[in-house]
Every structure is written in C-alpha cells, then in structure tokens.
Amino acid sequence: MSLSLIILAFVTLLAASAAMSLRNLVHCALALAVTFAGLAALYLNLDAQFVGFAQILVYVGAVAILIVFAILLTRSGDTPNEAVLAPGWISGIAISAGVFTVLGWAVLNSKALPSSGTLSLAPAATVKDIGKVLMEQYVLPLEVIGLLLTAAMIGAVVIALKEPSKSSSSRGDEAQIKKTEQVEPSHVGSYVGEKKGAA
C-alpha cells in the first residue's frame, strides 16, 4: 500500500461524493470528470497504462462532455431552489451504507483472495499484447461490441430526433412554442449521439 494510492483514492472518493451531493448539476458533472481522471490515475498506479489512457479518452473526453451537454439541453444548469433529494432518501442512504458494510466485511474476511504475489513486479501488458489477445481470443466479443456501438448510435439518434408534432389542432400555440424550442436541442443531440457511436 503506497502513499500515492492513498492520495489518489482520497481525491477520487472526495470527487465522487461531491458529484453525488452538490446542488448545482454542472458542478456535479465537473466533479464527475475529476472522479474519472482520479480513477484513470488509479489504473496507472496499478500498471494498467492502456486502460488508464482509454479511461481518460472515453470518460473525461466524451462521457463527461456528453453529460454536460445533456444538462444544458434539459435546462438544468442553474442551482435548483426545490429539494434535490427524492422523498425516501434516508432509506436510500441506509441501504447504500448497508451495501458498503457487507462488501467491506467480505473483502476483509474473505479467504479466497490471493494473498501471495501481492508485492510482485508489474506484469507486462503492452499494447501489442492487448491487441493480440483482442484479435485472437476475444474477437467475437469485439465484434459484438462493434454491433452494440452501432445500435447505440442509431438508437440515440432516433430517440433524440425531433418528434413529429401531432397535436397541431388542439394545442396549436403551445405546440408552436415547443417546436421552436426543439430545433436546436435535436440538432445538437444528434451530433452528440453520432459522436458516441463513432468513438
């Protein structure tokens, strides 16, 4: 257990708590970006270089930005005045505390954890090795992931597309207002969706 691991863990967990407890949603998203970066640093600390860089590229560069876009498109960028917690939040906290207790107890008392080799040298995981395994042993999952990403891209674009206005007769004015508001979000939303699929 090294000092760097403790510091990184502290930063990551602090940012995660901030991401889940701040009132302003944009602050939450920025704290989330810090959490992702901290996790990437933890991966680097555990000698998983490729995964750490991929984590920054995908999570900080794409997912955090995507969340920020969603926050602005749903107009929730301002600090809300009403309650931010759901009515049954006390039981929620209690359950999550229970989950942590059980997990922590299991981790500390498990006999199945490999105790030997804890201080072994860093295992070699070069990009070449990862690529080789990915192309030989795990080629089917790779293809499935490609299919999944394509489906997600199409799905996200379809969901975020502008709905055809069907209630033009009954609520004419309101529909008109909605329509003018919707023009920009659908535009940006589809770009964001496309980005995810291609990345």
Binding site: A54, V60, V68, A199
Partner: protein, 398 residues
C-alpha cells in the same frame, strides 16, 4: 562530430545527472525535461505572436509591429521585441471577474486548459533519443490529454454567465468533438502500418532511405491523404482560421474567454498556441518523419533542428491560411467533418490495409491512388450536391 552535436542535449543532461545522488536522479531528470519544455515552448509562443502579427500585416499590405526592440537601447530588431511589452501589458492588467460568474470554476478553467496541453509534450520526440516519457501507448496518451481541453473550454464558457461565452464554448466543443474523429482516424493508418502506438518507434520506422529519399509516410498515397486530413483537423482542433468560429470576433466577441482579462486571458492565449504547437508536433511525428531529414545527404544536420524547422514551416502555413481564407459557417463546418472527412478517413484506413498487404511494386501505387481519387471525387460531389454554387451576382446601387 555531427553525432556529438546531435546528441548534445542528451549528453549534457547525463553530465548534469552525474552530480546528483542516485536516489534523486529520476526526479531531477524529470525536472530538467519539464524545465526545458517550460522554457522552450513559451519562448516559441512569444516569437510566433510577433511573427503572426508581422506576417498578417504583410499579407494585408501593412507593416505590422516594427518598433520595439531591446529595451533601453536603440536596437529595434525589426519589432521582434514586441512580445515583451505585450507580456508586461497582459500581466499588469486588472483581473476582472464578472459578479455573476461562478468564481471557482472561472478561476480553474485556464489552469485546466494549460495542464493537459503541457502534458501532451511529454510523449513528443523532439530529436534522436529526446523523448521525455517514452510511453508504450504514447499516441493514446496524446489524444487522451487532448480530451481534457474540452472540459476546460466548457468550464470557461459556462462559468462566465455570458451568452457569448456559452455560445463560443458550445461551438468550440461541437467543433472539437467533430474534428477529433477524423484526426484520430487519420492517425490510425500510421499505427496500422507501424504496428505500434509508441511515437519514437513511429519515427524510427520513417528513418530509412531509398535513392536518398526518406521513407516519410507523407510520400505514400494513404499518408498524403492522412496528412491532409490531419492537417485540416488540427486547424480545427486548435481553433484556427478558417475554423475559428468559437472565437469569431465579429460574431461572439472572443468566444469562451470573452469574460477573461489580464493574466488569465494570457493563459488561455498561451494554452491555445501551445496546443497548436503540440498538435503540429504530432503531425510532424506521424507523417513528416519527426526529427529525420528528408534527404540522406542532409542527415548531418542535428535532429532537433529538423523537428523545429518543420514546426516553424507548418506554423508559417497556419499563419498564411489565416491571412487568406474566410471563416466557415457552422453547417459548412459540420458537413465538412461528417460528410467528407470522416468517410474519407475510413476509406483511407482500408487503403492503408491494401497498401500493407500488396507487394512492394508499382501496382499498389496505382490501386491505392485510384481508390483514394475515386473516393475523393464521389465524396466531394456529395458535399457539393445541395449547394447552389453559381457565379455570384452583385447588385450595385444605381
């Protein structure tokens, strides 16, 4: 002798490290490299600001700054001392923070901008044996830290509580996300051919000569297309003209750093230029042979001279483009990225694969060039189909 001059910085560093106790050596070695990057690239930034102003001035048929030289002397240096008063001015200006601004985020944005940009220099090979951190996944590292710049742009735009800032930030993020894809896909071709993400390895592969000409990737059909795609995408990534919509002065004042002044504004300015140098450096490393010389007869020139020479040449082209081309419209920008550059980059990957598996002979030149040319014609026609481009007619007041 040429070898010694080539390795002068490496030997100098080893010499300095000799005086340091064993335990501190990694730390001091890192510090020395960081110090070098922190002094060389801001220095280049200072020079480039003057060169850009002078160059734009020449293009627009005026002189540009030509007064300031060395302070307290009569030496004027054709105005190349201009960056000194510029720097003093931006450092001593009042730092205005809007009252409605989100103070913490507003304060952090320029720092979040500058740190990843500086980190990106860690993996660039500036010369033979002159890479600071020779990561196995160096290219991935470069693109990963580049992603953090988008977060800082959003932070700056959102925290200022200014509509121009937010508009500029949204434009910048949409543009960066769109152009990051052709940027990465054009770099993928090089990774395919070299078989490594390590940037030193990529340069090493280009360090070979046939008939006295270097094996730079730009001299192959897929490499030429890849380089051009990379070049256009890097113009967009560094928010340079003709892709400078995020900071279009005539539309949204200064984009996402409208509400920044003084030192923080200078930091954004610095971050933007350093990002531009870094991405140009990556382009040089991937396609233009990094620190290698184009001709076998010129290998006696030190490697870092070649790297920085190529950097200077491409920066000059960037300034030239800025002085020549008008700004794109937002829909033109998106169409270019998604309907032209992305398909072409994907086809280019296929072409690179064909190039790799065909025999080293003239047919592969023919096949690859034909494929790329066909794709270019089809995509270009598709891009231009719905645009009613005719001769522009002017109506004058009678």
């Amino acid at each position: 002798m040429a070898d010694k001059i080539d390795q002068i910085f490496v030997t100098l560093k080893a010499l300095l490290l000799g005086y340091v106790p064993e335990a501190l050596q990694p730390l001091v070695s890192g510090l020395l490299s960081v110090l070098l990057v922190l002094s060389v690239f801001p220095g280049i930034f200072a020079l480039v600001t003057v060169i850009e102003r002078k160059g734009l001035g020449r293009i627009q048929n005026r002189l540009g700054p030509n007064r300031v030289g060395i302070p307290f002397t009569k030496i004027r240096l054709c105005g190349f001392g201009q960056f000194i008063p510029d720097g003093i001015k931006s450092l001593t200006k009042e730092d205005v923070v809007p009252r409605a601004a989100d103070k913490v985020v507003h304060y952090l944005a320029p720092i979040v901008m500058l740190v990843p940009v500086l980190l990106a220099y860690a993996v660039l090979p500036f010369g033979r044996h002159m890479t600071i951190a020779d990561f196995d996944a160096g290219l991935l590292f470069f693109f990963a830290v580049g992603g953090a710049v988008e977060v800082s742009v959003f932070m700056a735009g959102w925290s200022s509580r200014n509509k121009y800032s937010l508009l500029g930030a949204m434009r910048a993020i949409a543009q960066m996300i769109s152009y990051e894809i052709p940027l990465i896909l054009s770099a993928v071709t090089v990774v395919m051919i070299v078989g490594s993400l390590n940037l030193s390895e990529i340069v090493q592969q280009q360090n070979a000569y046939t008939h006295g000409l270097a094996h730079w990737f730009v001299f192959t059909p897929w490499g030429l297309v890849g380089f051009l795609l990379f070049f256009i995408a890097s113009l967009a990534e560094s928010n340079r003209c003709p892709f400078d919509l995020p900071e279009a002065e005539s539309e949204i004042i200064a984009g996402y750093f409208t509400e920044y002044s003084g030192f923080k504004f200078a930091l954004f300015f610095l971050g933007e230029y350093l990002g531009m140098f870094a991405i140009i450096g990556l382009g040089i490393t991937l396609f233009l042979g990094g620190w290698t010389s184009p001709l076998a007869a010129l290998t006696w020139i030190p490697s870092y001279v070649w790297f920085f020479g190529k950097l200077a040449a491409i920066v000059f082209v960037f300034i030239w483009i800025r002085g020549t081309l008008p700004r794109l419209r937002m829909d033109q920008l998106m169409n270019l990225a998604w309907k032209f550059m992305l398909p072409l980059a994907l086809i280019n990957i296929v072409v690179a694969a064909i190039w790799h598996f065909m025999a080293v002979d003239w047919p592969r030149w023919l096949v690859c060039s034909a494929l790329i040319f066909g794709a270019y014609v089809v995509l270009g026609r598709g891009l231009m189909k719905h645009q009613k481009l005719g001769k522009r007619t002017y109506r004058f007041a009678e």
